[in-house]
């Protein structure tokens, strides 16, 4: 009886922990998503997220964390394919600029100028091909 009670308490604690982690994740995704919709954060041609305007500490931390994970994923793919991390990153940049920047959101081209996505597709850098 004692044992099962103990198990119950443990299970309850586990549920609480998982719940807390979910909430933390949702909040983090929320901060970045909000910044993306407002245009404060945007996709860059180099394959990473960047700041169009100076971010709060929290936002900076969350975007940096995403970029670190992106770099990890790019590094894995680069190793598999025998190319540089930059090649992979830039190719992902072509992909995100082409498909994942909604109208009204910010994006950065290799010329270093932040622009706001219009209805028309983004004029991709020549190296992206077609």
């Amino acid at each position: 009886m004692m044992l099962s009670l103990k198990n119950l308490v443990l299970a309850g604690a586990a549920v609480l922990l998982v719940g807390a982690a979910d909430i933390a994740y949702a909040q983090s995704a929320g901060t970045v998503s909000t910044a993306l919709s407002s245009g404060a954060v945007g996709e860059q041609a180099d394959g990473y997220l960047g700041f169009r305007s100076t971010p709060s500490g929290t936002l900076r931390g969350e975007v940096d964390a995403i970029n670190i994970k992106r770099r990890e994923a790019y590094t894995n793919l680069a190793t598999q394919r025998g190319v540089t991390v930059r090649d992979v990153a830039v190719t992902v940049g072509c992909e995100t600029l082409q498909k994942r920047v909604a109208t009204g959101r910010s994006y950065l081209l290799p010329d270093g100028v932040w622009r706001t996505k219009a209805e028309d597709p983004i004029a991709l850098p020549a190296y992206c091909g077609n």
Partner: protein, 62 residues
């Protein structure tokens, strides 16, 4: 005979001088292949990159 050949050679060189003027460029000739090479790598990686983006939605928030 020898003189004729000489004359011919002279005439030929005069002609050449008249029509062909080759000047060495003052700047070195640069052929930039970087863009093409890069484009080729990008084309081969395109599908992988699309998969990477689609399979990791947490890294590409909307």
């Amino acid at each position: 005979m020898k003189q004729a050949a000489l004359l011919l050679a002279l005439a030929a060189s005069a002609l050449l001088a008249g029509c062909l003027q080759i000047q060495a460029p003052d700047k070195p000739i640069e052929i930039n292949l970087n863009v093409n090479v890069k484009q080729e790598v990008i084309l081969t990686l395109k599908k992988d990159a699309a998969d990477l983006v689609n399979n990791n939605p947490e890294l590409f928030p909307q």
